[in-house]
Amino acid sequence: MVHRVLVGVLLVYLLAPFLWMALYSLFPASALQSLTPNLDPRLITLGSYRRLLGDSSFLVPMAHSAIVGISTTVVCMVLGSGCAYVLARYRFPGRHTLLVGMLTVQAVPVIVLAVPLFVLLRAFGMYDTLPGLVVTYTAFILPLVVWMLVGFFQEVPPSLERAAVIDACSRLQIVWRIAVPLAAPGMAATAVLAFITSWSDFFLAKVLTSGNAATLPVRTAAFQGLFAMDYTAAATAGVITAVPVLLLALVAQRWIIRGLVEGAVKG
């Protein structure tokens, strides 16, 4: 009984804040901003969603986020799995340093790199472009991807691969036919993490774009501006920004929990 109550409290704590924001997106702000919030279901309206999803200044950044998120994920997975496989299978001098280095990158605050990155992207004509964002995110996310994938590849028993060598498979075939399928759950979790990280980023997108390539978090944050904060629109934008990530997290939850956590614990 005590257990059930505690679990209940936990669920309220986890979900209530988000649900409150969802309510904000559905009810007129005036109904919620009083001491006795009026939750009459007849007040519910999807007007705010209709408005935002019909507004190109909102849809375009949303598309940008999707494009950048997917591209970054693909690039990170392709480059990362090759790198991680080598790090997982071969012993060579500097291997340990490289692995620690991958984790160390997590320690660098992006603020340090913001101005230099801006200068760098401009020099290559990639400031305020989607490829510019993809390249930047790849640099930041790749180390984490490699670090996680090394853990997963290490779990694939080398004996299986040795058998494949006897069957005269090439290295690449071995990776593709044996290592990848066996590490698939972990790879899926890693991919989801890569996508979420790039989809959610605000700071780099704020510094490295200026209108042509603005992403969803930048657009969402802009609901707080010179003009009065439109609570309903801000909440709606918040829900819309969070929902794809939530869906992804829910669909892939089995892999995420296994991949993220077991990889992390063993790494």
Partner: protein
């Protein structure tokens, strides 16, 4: 196969890093019409004596200590709670992911809706239940705002830490608990003697990554405080200060020096925890 990834990482992180170090050696203000002049370690010397930096540093350490401490403690307790078989356990574990999936920008908006001093729901509940006598201005007082920030960030980071602990718990063989029970150990005894020691791996890992993440916090502060790090710099962490100096004051050299000092701080913590982690692994072997 490893080369392309390494090249990208080194080029896109190494070069900017070097450039930032380079910038930090100059008195480089965009606002004065004079060209930047080389000052060596002058900016770092100024960082050491800047009361604004010191205040931001203390705030950062407070923020990191509480979020990491509370986060890890709560995570262990919640993991123990969820490690018991009960109906709907899978569902709860899935819902646990919700805060993790909420983007930081959205996290900022969300807590603003909740803690706003005149329209927030916490005030409505507090006044309704008679807990508050008057509206509490959570986002008007520097101390309160920092606490709201800590609360918001802890909410968001908890799921990841919980999952980490859950995985750790599942690695503990059930028969150890059985044996302990036979020996007459109580629930608390079992938690102290079996659960905690076996969670040392996940806990140490959580400390490493969460400390790094907490020291780097930016997005939530930006949205929660309308881009100001306020009120009265109450939520201006060292990272946020570096942002203000670089982008608002356009003092590139000094901003870079603050940011690099912050990086060194994070790295020191990372090295500290990594050493702890490695020791444990060797003992385990």
């Amino acid at each position: 196969m490893a080369a392309p990834a390494l090249v990208i990482i080194v080029l896109l992180l190494g070069y900017p890093m070097g450039y930032a170090v380079f910038m930090s050696g100059f008195d480089w203000s965009e606002k004065t019409a004079t060209p930047p002049s080389f000052v060596g370690l002058g900016n770092y010397a100024a960082v050491m004596h800047d009361p604004q930096v010191l205040a931001a540093l203390l705030r950062t350490l407070f923020f990191a200590a509480v979020t990491v401490g509370a986060g890890v403690t709560l995570a262990v307790l919640i993991a123990v709670l969820l490690n018991v078989e009960f109906r709907g356990r899978t569902l709860v574990r899935v819902l646990l992911l919700v805060p993790w999936a909420v983007p930081p920008v959205v996290n900022g908006i969300m807590w603003k809706l909740i803690f706003d001093g005149s329209t927030g729901v916490v005030n409505a509940i507090g006044l309704g239940l008679g807990i508050f006598h008057d509206r509490v201005q959570f986002l008007a007082d520097p101390t309160w705002t920092m606490n709201v920030l800590v609360f918001a960030e802890t909410w968001k980071l908890l799921p990841f830490l919980c999952l980490l602990m859950l995985a750790g718990l599942q690695g503990i063989p059930a028969n150890i608990y059985k044996a302990a029970r036979v020996d007459g150990a109580g629930a608390w005894q079992r938690f102290l003697r079996i659960t905690l020691p076996n969670l040392r791996g996940p806990i140490t890992f959580a400390l490493v990554v969460q400390t790094m993440w907490s020291l780097k916090v930016f997005d939530t502060i930006y949205v929660l405080t309308g881009g100001s790090g306020g009120p009265a710099e109450g939520t201006t962490t060292i990272n946020f200060l570096a942002y203000l100096v670089t982008f608002s004051n356009l003092d590139r050299g000094y901003g870079a020096a603050i940011a690099i000092s912050a990086t060194v701080l994070v790295l020191l913590f990372a090295v500290f925890w990594t050493v702890v982690l490695r020791d444990r692994k060797e003992v385990a072997r």
